[in-house]
Symmetry: C2
Subunit: 215 residues, 2 copies
Amino acid sequence: MRWKKISDAVIRRLPLYLRVLDELSADPETELISSQDLGFRAGVSPALVRKDLAWFGEFGKQGVGYEVAFLRDELRRILNLDSELKVALVGVGSLGVALTRYNIKRYQEDNSFNLRLAALFDSDPKKIGIQIEGIPVFSIDQIGEKTEELGLQMAIITVPFESAQIITDMLVNAGVRAILNFAPTKLVVPEGVHVANADLSLELQRLAYYLQDEE
Amino acid sequence: MRWKKISDAVIRRLPLYLRVLDELSADPETELISSQDLGFRAGVSPALVRKDLAWFGEFGKQGVGYEVAFLRDELRRILNLDSELKVALVGVGSLGVALTRYNIKRYQEDNSFNLRLAALFDSDPKKIGIQIEGIPVFSIDQIGEKTEELGLQMAIITVPFESAQIITDMLVNAGVRAILNFAPTKLVVPEGVHVANADLSLELQRLAYYLQDEE
DNA sequence: TAGATTGTTAATCGATTAACAATC
DNA sequence: TAGATTGTTAATCGATTAACAATC
């Protein structure tokens, strides 16, 4: 099933709802949840919760609410998280290694976490051939080859900003269509490729503004 | 000088403009920049650039544009980045260490980067007392004491999600008013305290949506 | 002066909220 | 049935864009 032109603001909130539902699933007591309660836990208004969900279908029952397990499964499906997605990480520096550990831990502990880090890439010959948390490190020259071979669909970029665009081009050429970018630079990508920016210093700089004497 | 009720959407773009101006400052040829050019480089429309800046004053000259160095300094001042801010980091795991390295490198290389990581905190006795990149690791019990002593104003949280809220409460009690949170949980903070979320898995889950067959 | 670009107002667009009929 | 809550439409709110007078 496909829907068109759903706003990014809506998509951003779906993983928030999914997280709440995942937490509630742990408790077998809670089989139902209202938009009121779900909204409160996700930090979103009840009306907006209902409107967001309504873009994709009718998942609730009037007078009752939403079935937790059912809505969770529907959201997973909507977000394309119902089957395993293979992720690449480029740039095996300390940040890259930290994210690798984090991902692997998450993947092992939560068996519905379907984002699998399947390959690491680096340009340093000393790193190529080793494994980090069981994940092999390949040369960046192998991005094209390994992307196809392993079916890599997403990538995390943790290289210095000078090489971020070149790496991006290589990934895009290889067929990667979603990139999480930790390099402090704006990546240029063709139509149809999505980039999410995770820029630490931008966020810190923004926060500094609010330290000024409050009104 | 203080301004009131400026939208968060505006504040979010200021560090973007600042980054462009910082890059341009390196080139002594470019003394002036138009809203057109600045907008293009920052990925924002020219009209929006002018409107954003106009909230804080008149920084340009009609028919000419903006002076790069002047506007850069003004933006630094507006963002409260014209003097050093002391930052704490809580949770010296691999992510915490990676961010420490990243910050220190940035701080050393760019002498107008005024966000100084001044203290690390952890609960592991084996880590307390050591230094990472020259920054001492204290016990989380010392958060109150060290925040005052060192004048810590912002904090980065890289602890497991179970302890994120407790750590947040300790930081807020100690007087920290801006937090960059890497733990996958929604932090509850009182009015006047600002939280920026840097949630890797939320972003990856969002990106997964766009991998579905494009229209 | 002629050309260019700002600062600002009015118009548009999009996202959120309020309200309520439908219905479980 | 009575009470509760959804799905949806209309109203509101806020953010972005278009347009242009002011002016360098």
